[in-house]
């Protein structure tokens, strides 16, 4: 059996893997968005820009200082996390008492600023980042040839996502965080430094986005626009999944990546819009999203 519905199995599996890779990025980004929204009440439009900056940090580290991929995996989240601290302390802090729409608008402005600066510095053409030596090549699984790097991306991001899920749902720290989402004033009364927690949550979400950026760097073109194009799809993913559940956003992200991959095989013209179509259908049937709770 080398064909399925007239499509060579190899091509089908290749696209599915590519979909899974994209799905991992959706999962990591929507996870960060959900956690930030939960605690700060801010829909972070700048999430795409943070992802973009993460990829650029890796690229700059390689080009300018010869710092390799593995260190970049550590460096980019730290740099972007620190940026997140600055953004939260200087700007977002002033918005918590306002309508959440203002948070969206402010972070939209931040995304424009980041995009403009990087476009001025590096132009709009894509930069290449090579796959690290240890992960080059491919493994023949018999039924398909598996590029090592793509397999690594899926495994690494799934590990990070599940790790975050475990941290939030199963540890005392996570319990405090969830309590802060429910009732910050009460948590503060228990002697927990809620503003610090909020700051670290934003930084953590930012670091997660940067990590996704580094993981993505070798499989995509690094451009200043890569973040904004992705964040809109991630918004749709978040609407589909509902922001209520962490595991929900991970699953939705992966599933939509796969669906997108399948659409590329069977009807490539629609692959850009399939996520949005699914969003419309889900909103018609379950307005709160697949894993969301109404209010």
């Amino acid at each position: 059996m080398t064909e399925l519905f007239g499509i060579p199995i190899q091509a089908l599996l290749g696209q599915l893997l590519l979909g899974l890779v994209n799905g991992s990025f959706y999962a990591m980004l929507s996870l960060g968005l959900a956690v930030i929204f939960g605690l700060l009440g801010i829909v972070n439009f700048a999430h795409g820009a943070l992802y973009m900056i993460g990829a650029y940090v890796a690229w700059i580290a390689m080009e300018k200082w010869g710092i390799g991929y593995w260190w970049a995996l550590l460096l980019a989240p730290i740099v972007v996390g620190a940026l997140g601290v600055a953004v939260e302390r200087l700007l977002l802090k002033h918005l918590y008492k306002l309508d959440p729409l203002y948070g969206l608008l402010l972070t939209f402005g931040l995304a424009l600023i980041a995009e403009g600066i990087f476009r001025d510095q590096f132009g709009v053409s894509g930069q290449q980042y090579s796959v690290p030596e240890a992960l080059q090549g491919a493994t023949n699984l018999g039924f398909m040839v598996l590029p090592n790097y793509r397999a690594w991306v899926v495994v690494a991001s799934l590990t990070v996502c599940l790790g975050t899920w475990f941290l939030i749902e199963k540890t005392p720290l996570g319990a405090t965080l969830r309590a802060g989402t429910e009732n910050p004033a009460l948590v503060q009364a228990f002697g927990i430094n809620v503003p610090l927690m909020v700051m670290l949550t934003y930084a953590g979400g930012a670091a997660l986005a940067a990590l996704a950026g580094v993981l993505a760097a070798p499989v995509i073109q690094i451009t200043p626009l890569m973040g904004s194009n992705l964040i809109i799809v991630v918004f749709a993913v978040v609407v589909i999944g509902g922001m209520g559940s962490i595991l929900g956003s991970i699953l939705t992200g992966l599933a939509l990546g796969l669906v997108e991959g399948l659409t590329k095989v069977f009807y490539p013209e629609a692959s850009n819009i399939v996520v949005f179509v699914i969003m419309a259908i889900v909103l018609m049937i379950r307005p709160a999203g697949l894993f969301g709770k109404e209010k």
Binding site: L104, G109, L110, E269, I273
Partner: protein
Amino acid sequence: MTANRNAWLVVLALLIAAPFVGIYPVFIMKALCYAIFACAFNLLLGYTGLLSFGHAAFMGSAAYATGWIVRNAGLSPELGLLGGMVLAALLGLVVGLIAIRRQGIYFAMVTLAMAQMVYFVCLQAPITGGEDGMQGVPRGKLFGLLPLGNDLAMYFFVLLLFVAVFLFIIRVVHSPYGQVLKAIRENEPRAVSLGYQVDRYKLLAFVLSTAIAGLAGGLKTLVLGFATLSDVHWSLSGEVVLMTLLGGLGTFAGPVVGAFTIVGLQDYLADRVGSWVTVIIGAIFVVCVLAFRRGFVGELVAWRERKRAVVHP
């Protein structure tokens, strides 16, 4: 109120005189198109409290539709504009039906996502010209009689439509229907408990707003002679939010002031600072949200009220 009316008459007189005192008419026409667009947007965000983050989809799809009707079908410009408005309104009906199923921030995200879908359709559809855009749209003859190729004729046609839209929005806001919209903005659950079918009111406001946005898009195509992907891009959806916010949310004059400011700024900066335009626009966004939420007109109104309070304590 009379002071307001006098101010508007002065502005109108200035706009009528503008092309005769050497101001480039195409620039004002472009700014007026964006002013119409921002007024339409303000009807939603300022008076109904709905943040549509995908309004460029309606302006842009109408821009293409008008272009196609005038250039490819060879019909007259008023039919082109009408066609654009109808398409934008129908699209608004579909997007509105889906988006009003969620409130607040989700509404913004859903409209953004739906608009991105429209963008991809425009990117791939054969009639839009893809990356090159739809070029060479003639202005044609209005009602088959008045040639709009003349900049002055086109200018007064745009000005007339702008005034009409402006008065229409004032009329809508002051009507009983507009009062219900404001009630929904202030407190949606209360409006529901008063027995209003909130979703219908919201949907109608959405469709009205998208139809006017469509008029703005069609006019812009006629003025400039082309429609491109930047007319449907999300960055334009963001710009119209900024225009409204900077000028003054929920004020009649605000979106107009904001549109002229942003279009003027972009025009002025485009050749001077290159890609820093985006940075500057972004920075204005940040400053506006942090420290200038009332916008120019909102601040003016607040200042006048403070002064009045001092005079008549």
